[in-house]
């Protein structure tokens, strides 16, 4: 399969990259890992007139803790996250998700920020970010702006990002000292998209739930924040009853549809079980189920 013709640019500075994007007035795409964009171009679902390869840019490889939170630069690969000790513990939802993104070879090239920009409704990172709490940093012709992840996804493959903007990094907010989470994913085979995924994050305060983050993959037009379930948990002790209620509410919020991966009813059921398991794992202080 051959993509449509495009002009290829390999800028060496961010300013240069932004200038090229600006010049193409929304008809250029940013190329980072390319593991979602190139398949789309091969199928001609995407046919940008120009590609701006940002792999040669300096300073986008940062993966570091800062101010209690975490910075993930635009060129940080899934594989780097999979191997990073930084993601364990408080950022357990990220640590659990990284090794189940696509397959090992795709993880060598694919990036976290690229995955967010692509906004596949079945992408895992979107749910992870909604659960843990994060902000997308974007640079455009007008300067830098911060987009809260809650405002970032606007629908399938649609984000708040302007075509002339580049994500420079995603910043995970400080989850607090007593926090953890996990990601559970059902897939038919390695490399397949999630039939259902559940991202769970809990920040504890004095033994009760300070903030609960619950988001679902594969059961909506984009990653779905299970707000009712989150609110039901806030301020409560994470006991069996609270967990059962939250899992039920999360499953009810799922906008599951019948498809080749399963019936809507099945997916809702899996969502309930995953949220229950994830919350139980969090209550037992473990990052994995």
């Amino acid at each position: 399969m051959y993509p449509a013709t495009f002009e290829y640019f390999a800028p060496t500075t961010l300013e240069e990259a932004l200038e090229i994007l600006d010049r193409h007035e929304g008809e250029a795409k940013v190329l980072a890992g390319g593991q979602s964009l190139i398949p789309l171009m091969k199928l001609r679902f995407a046919a940008p007139r120009a590609l701006v390869d940002i792999n040669g840019l300096e300073g986008l490889n940062t993966l570091a803790e800062e101010g209690g939170g975490l910075r993930i630069g635009a060129l940080v690969r899934h594989k780097t996250c999979e191997r990073s000790e930084l993601l364990r513990g408080r950022f357990g939802v990220l640590a659990a998700a990284a090794p189940v993104i696509s397959d090992p070879i795709v993880r060598n090239l694919g990036t976290v920020c690229g995955s967010l920009a692509h906004a596949d409704p079945q992408g895992d990172w979107g749910s992870v970010m909604l659960a843990v709490g994060a902000d997308v940093e974007a640079r455009g012709p007008g300067g830098t702006r911060t987009i809260p992840i809650e405002d970032f996804f606007q629908g399938p493959f649609t984000t708040a990002l302007e075509p002339t903007e580049v994500i420079t990094e995603v910043r995970i907010r400080d989850p607090g000292p007593d926090s953890g989470g996990t990601y559970l994913k059902l897939e038919r085979k390695v490399g397949d998209f999630a039939t259902v995924g559940a991202a769970i994050h809990i920040s504890f305060e004095n033994g009760t739930v300070g903030r609960a983050g619950i988001a679902l993959t594969g059961v909506g037009p984009s990653s779905l924040k299970a707000t009712a379930a989150e609110e039901a948990l806030a301020g409560r002790k994470l006991d069996k009853e609270a967990i059962t209620t939250a899992a039920r509410l999360a499953a009810e919020s799922a906008e599951a549809r019948d498809d080749v991966r399963g019936s809507a009813e099945y997916k809702r059921s899996v969502a309930r079980v995953f949220v229950e398991r994830g919350l139980r794992a969090a209550s037992e202080g473990r990052s994995h189920d």
Binding site: M1, Y2, P3, A4, T5, F6, E7, Y8, A10, L31, G34, Q35, I38, P39, M41, K42, R49, A50, L51, D53, N55, S102, D103, P104, I105, V106, N108, L109, V190, G191
Partner: protein
């Protein structure tokens, strides 16, 4: 407007070190690395299986890292090193991973084998004595449509032993 289209530069000269040899060619930006290797350079050992980033048959090493060459543009390899299955063999001497696949019958039809061997080579470089689980995990992006996985895992273990014996 057609005159604008014609102004666009849609080809590039790329210089890639393939299996230790510097190769330069003018290519279309949209040319995939897999096609560059197979058609431009005639290195047909890299197989295109699914063409949808799923099967891993087209896996090559880009600066030592396994990538699916059907999902990388040739222009992205400019100035970098690519290793294909043709680069494993040294003269008449098969690479230990190749010997191991032969001796353990780690292939049936052989179509997925180049990708399997390259992914396994990268694994063994990083983890010289992997467990069954680690081998299966590392190879989980490479599909064997004949389902000959048992012997593939055995072959990787066998290669690990050979490489350890050679002190590599």
């Amino acid at each position: 407007m057609t005159d604008v289209v014609q102004e666009r530069v849609t080809t590039r000269t790329v210089t890639v070190t393939v299996n230790g040899e510097t190769r330069a060619a003018e290519v279309e930006s949209r040319l995939l690395l897999a096609h560059f290797l197979r058609q431009t350079l005639g290195l047909t050992g890299t197989h295109l299986g699914c063409d949808t980033t799923s099967c891993g048959a087209c896996t090559v090493l880009l600066d030592g890292v396994p990538v699916k060459s059907c999902t990388v543009f040739a222009v992205q390899a400019n100035g970098r090193e690519v290793t294909t299955v043709e680069g494993l063999q040294q003269g008449a001497q098969l690479h230990p991973i190749q010997e191991a696949f032969r001796e353990e019958h780690g292939l049936q039809c052989g179509f997925c084998t180049p990708g399997m061997m390259l992914t396994a080579t990268a694994l063994l470089k990083e983890n010289p004595d992997p467990t069954d689980e680690e081998i299966r995990w590392a190879l989980s992006g490479n599909i064997c449509r004949c389902t000959g996985y048992q012997n593939i895992v055995k072959a990787v273990h066998h290669a690990a032993t050979k490489l350890a014996g050679e002190g590599r």
